[in-house]
């Protein structure tokens, strides 16, 4: 069953009643909300996502609701909560949807320590993935959105989730929050991309969410192997440049972009070392999406690679 099997009325009743259960990649969530403004925006964007089986465990019980106190009668606000705790100041009620999405990011980043979490977008084709570790403002989400509307599958826009058992990437194909100028860039690039409303004046400026292609959501349980590590940077009017970088630099860039490198101790070192060893590593400077995609499409997926890094283990 997918969320779209419910109609808008049933969707809203679930949110305000028993809670709406939804599956985002490896995570099952139960969402409560009494806010019509949230329900209206969330329904079309969440429609293609699966509902977990009734016997599956729920990882996060979250809510985006009116303030619990008398404040609800004074100002129309939206409060995010996890397990009944409110970690953030209230948001304007009109920003309930981005507030919930940011809240889900927070839940994952602070709880999912059974996985190595890289701050990276990831896309896949033919079972092999590009990871784009990047800092905010580097154009990661814009490039990722363009790629998934050009034949690549979305694994994730925000979290490169690495499974410790085998180093493979777990998909987390959630809606992609575009910010400010990127919204219009993608509207021009792919006018048929499914995009929610623009939220003006949020804590991150103007935000609009792009729904991933349904195929990416349908395949959200199919892992992939990282094959390329590409560190993107958008620079206005810059000529395209895809430049190999040395492994030691790639290691440092990946490790410093991880959410929980320090939490997982030796496992992090092993996973990042293995990943850097197995991947070709580049920096990408771009200003034109078509040029960037053409360059990434030409990456050769057939080069074999060995399975063990050449580490010196002194144990």
């Amino acid at each position: 069953m997918i969320i779209g099997d419910l109609d808008q009325r049933e969707f809203t009743e679930r949110l305000s009643g028993v809670g709406l259960c939804i599956q985002f990649g490896p995570f099952n969530l139960r969402i409560h909300s009494d806010l019509p403004a949230f329900s209206r925006v969330a329904y079309p964007l969440y429609s293609p996502y699966p509902q977990p089986q009734p016997n599956q465990l729920i990882d996060f019980h979250i809510q985006i609701t009116s303030p619990p106190s008398m404040r609800r009668w004074v100002r129309r606000q939206a409060c995010f909560a996890l397990d009944g705790h409110f970690p953030f100041a209230p948001y304007a009620v009109d920003h309930a949807f981005p507030a919930l999405e940011w809240g889900i990011n927070w839940c994952i980043a602070t709880r999912a320590h059974h996985l190595l979490m890289l701050h990276a977008a990831a896309v896949e084709r033919n079972g092999q993935a590009i990871l784009f570790p990047a800092s905010p403002g580097d154009g990661k989400s814009t490039l990722c959105t363009a790629l998934i509307h050009s034949g690549w599958r979305l694994l994730s826009d925000e979290f490169g989730l690495v499974r410790p058992e085998d180093g493979r990437l777990l998909p987390l194909p959630r809606v992609i929050p575009l910010k400010n100028q990127s919204i219009e860039v993608i509207r021009q690039f792919r006018p048929n991309a499914v995009m929610g409303p623009s939220f003006l004046g949020t804590r991150k400026g103007t935000v609009a969410h792009v729904q991933p292609p349904v195929e990416s959501i349908r395949r959200s349980q199919e892992c992939a192997q990282a094959r390329w590590l590409i560190f993107p940077r958008w620079i206005a009017d810059a000529p395209l440049s895809l430049t190999p970088i040395v492994k030691s630099q790639a290691f440092l860039l990946v490790a410093t972009n991880a959410f929980n490198y320090d939490v997982l101790d030796q496992t992090s070192f092993r996973l990042v070392t293995q990943m850097v060893h197995d991947c070709e590593c580049f920096t990408l400077i771009y200003s034109n999406l078509d040029e960037a995609i053409a360059a990434l499409d030409q990456l050769n997926p057939t080069r074999p690679h060995s399975s063990k890094p050449s580490s010196i283990d002194s144990e």
Partner: protein
Amino acid sequence: MVLLPTAKTLIWQKWDDLYLVYQPSSAETHVFNETSALILASIESGSLPTASVKEWTARSLGLMADDLGSEEFDLAVTRLEELGLLDCGDDKTALE
């Protein structure tokens, strides 16, 4: 003076001219140049007199012992000591 290893287990990865060293006892990842890495490697199996470490490090770098600057060597030893990767002691300490 002798240099004594303090970290029993280190995990190494060499890429390019840099050494990444994971120290399980502190859960830290270090990045070392060749001089620091060689100093650490020289005492992996036990303590050595400082002069021997310097000579071995210089030879491994393709230098004569005198060609490896004392300032560079001492700085690397101090930094490794600060990180808890080695101890500087006298000969008596080494015997203990």
